[in-house]
């Protein structure tokens, strides 16, 4: 079943008609409020038109009307699965504009929590991907273990999902004493669960058959479409902002950029996009271990480098590697305490735009698989 051949059927006098199917915005597997207008010939998808904007929450308008600090909570709500990662590029950008340098402990806590959040996000991605394939149980297993990460975040910031923890020039508060042990526990548990998920879901023959050679995205097309994150790396492009343009203290750590290797299936198909996420969880664990070693033990005042007044001047395009891909903010500051313009370049927005081009010619069941492998978050697409 590696290749799909075009079969020509002579229908004689029977007239056939293409069916327009409306998937969403409340369909169980559109991961939120995405609406897809699908044109079907039998079960074969001939065209897909995504309609987005059902969760357009006016982030850019609101950010123009709030101060630089007030923008951070709204950024949390953009990609609500990976709030810590979202805050990082914005805060780094403002710090760069204002010339603030933060201490090693703050930097390493930032790295640790972003990597933890990356793991949490990939867990959700794999879980929902499995659910799209019809396996409900891995979803619950992964959510169960995600709770451990959320507990640590809760102890740090007080919030389970939306944290507002990384602040311009520091953090909300310093890490608590048993932080290191908790994180080490999480790493051990994540590795255990990953083995379980590999056994239960990813090495399952049915799952492999469902996902390989589905929605293959060639590398050059992926680059031209501006894809990033696991979507691009699944196509075999070694592009990871943590390596390419290291921000924060990522240049101090030793880790691999995982790419889709095509050991099973072809490079760039849904299976490889998914397996990249599994690899990345392991890489994140490695980074966390190194960052824990690098982190100075003595607790310190994380508010020491807080600026008295945040009113930078200048323009900056600041970006970071989100679990979904490259999250960028184009910030224009004109010397007042409110940003003149904040444009969010969200990875899911760009990754989703490739969907119509990789899902044509597959079946409707494959369309769901492809959509799951893209791993979108609507809050980020619609902002």
């Amino acid at each position: 079943m590696a290749e799909r051949k075009e079969i020509e059927i002579d229908f004689g006098r029977v007239e056939t008609e293409r069916m327009r199917l409306n998937v969403g915005p409340q369909h169980p597997s559109t991961h939120g409020v995405l609406r897809l207008e699908v044109e079907l010939e039998g079960e074969i998808v001939t065209d897909v038109i995504p309609h987005i904007g059902y969760l357009h929450r006016c982030f850019e308008k609101i950010s123009e009307n709030s101060t630089f600090v007030q923008v951070v909570p709204y950024i949390d709500r953009m990609d609500y699965i990976t709030s810590m990662n979202n805050e990082l590029p914005y805060v780094l950008g403002i710090e760069k504009l204002m010339g603030i340098k933060v201490s090693d402990r703050i930097e390493s806590i930032r790295v640790i929590i972003s990597e933890l959040n990356r793991i949490a996000s990939h867990q959700i991605a794999v879980a929902t991907f499995g659910m799209d394939a019809g396996a409900f149980t891995p979803f619950l297993f992964l959510f169960r273990d995600r709770e451990m990460i959320l507990n640590v975040f809760e102890k740090l910031s007080g919030g389970r999902l939306l944290y507002n923890y990384i602040r311009v020039g520091g953090l909300l508060q310093d890490a608590y004493p048993s932080f290191k042990n908790d994180v080490l526990d999480i790493i051990r548990k994540v590795r255990e669960t990953n083995v379980e998920i590999m056994n239960l879901l990813i090495d399952n023959k049915i799952f492999i058959e469902r996902t390989i050679n589905v929605g293959t995205l060639p590398a050059d097309v992926a680059i031209n479409f501006g894809c990033s994150g696991p979507m691009l790396r699944g196509s075999g492009v070694k592009y990871d902002l943590r390596k390419v343009e290291p921000y924060s203290i990522y240049d101090k750590f030793d880790f691999e950029v995982s790419v889709g290797d095509g050991k099973i299936g072809t490079v760039g198909d849904s299976y490889n996009r998914n397996i990249v996420r599994m690899y990345e969880m392991e890489e994140s664990c490695k980074i966390i271990e190194q960052a824990l070693k690098f982190m100075p033990d003595a607790s310190e005042d994380v508010h020491a480098t807080f600026p008295k007044k945040i009113a930078p001047k200048g323009e900056i395009y600041t970006k970071a590697e989100n679990p979904k891909g490259e999250l960028g903010f184009y910030i224009i500051a004109d010397g007042k305490n409110k940003p003149y313009r904040v444009k969010g370049r969200s990875p899911s927005f760009v990754n989703l735009s490739v969907l119509p081009y990789i899902s044509k010619g597959y079946m409707i069941a494959d369309l769901i698989i492809i959509l799951g492998s893209v791993d979108i978050v609507l809050g980020e697409i619609d902002r």
Binding site: E60, L97, F225, G226, K343, S353, V354
Partner: protein, 159 residues
């Protein structure tokens, strides 16, 4: 390549269409301002010229300045790992700019979004319709003089 070098290279190729460079050497992002007339050629040159190879359009955003609309292109080269910001200024009364959708497909949705938010018209875009706001929405929300509607389809909008 730094922005300055790219600017000189561009200036040699398209002398008048490349207007200015901003590079204060500080933290602020350096950028090149070009005119919208020859935009497609400039962008193609940026993408295909050896040594530039900007094959990745990171971001495309519109800005509503007091005197003009500006479209900002953030380019990145996955081959060479360098970045560039290109700005195009448009008059307020007739914001029309050629679409770069055929050069970078990622521009497709970004341009639709910019049209949706600012009303900037991208000539040559194959499907320039609203993307985030409903198709029957009135006005361009991110313009500085935008007033939110009182009612939409019989639902009261303000709090």
């Amino acid at each position: 390549m730094t922005t300055k070098e790219i600017f000189e290279k561009l200036k040699n190729e398209f002398n008048d269409d490349v207007i200015s460079i901003f590079d204060d050497g500080m933290v602020s992002e350096p950028f090149i301002t070009v005119s919208s007339k020859n935009l497609i050629d400039i962008m193609l040159f940026l993408r295909d010229e050896k040594g530039l190879m900007f094959d990745y359009l990171s971001c495309l955003s519109g800005v509503d300045y007091k005197e003009n609309f500006t479209v900002i292109y953030n380019l990145f080269s996955i081959e060479i790992h360098h970045r560039l910001t290109v700005k195009v200024e448009l008059p307020k009364d007739n914001p029309v700019i050629p679409s770069v959708e055929l050069i970078w497909r990622s521009a497709d949705w970004h341009e639709r979004e910019t049209y949706d938010m600012y009303g900037i018209i991208f000539e040559g875009h194959h499907n320039l319709i609203r993307i985030l706001n409903p198709y029957d929405w009135e006005g361009y929300p991110l313009r500085k003089d935008y007033k939110a509607p009182e009612e939409y389809h019989g639902i009261k909008v303000p709090y």
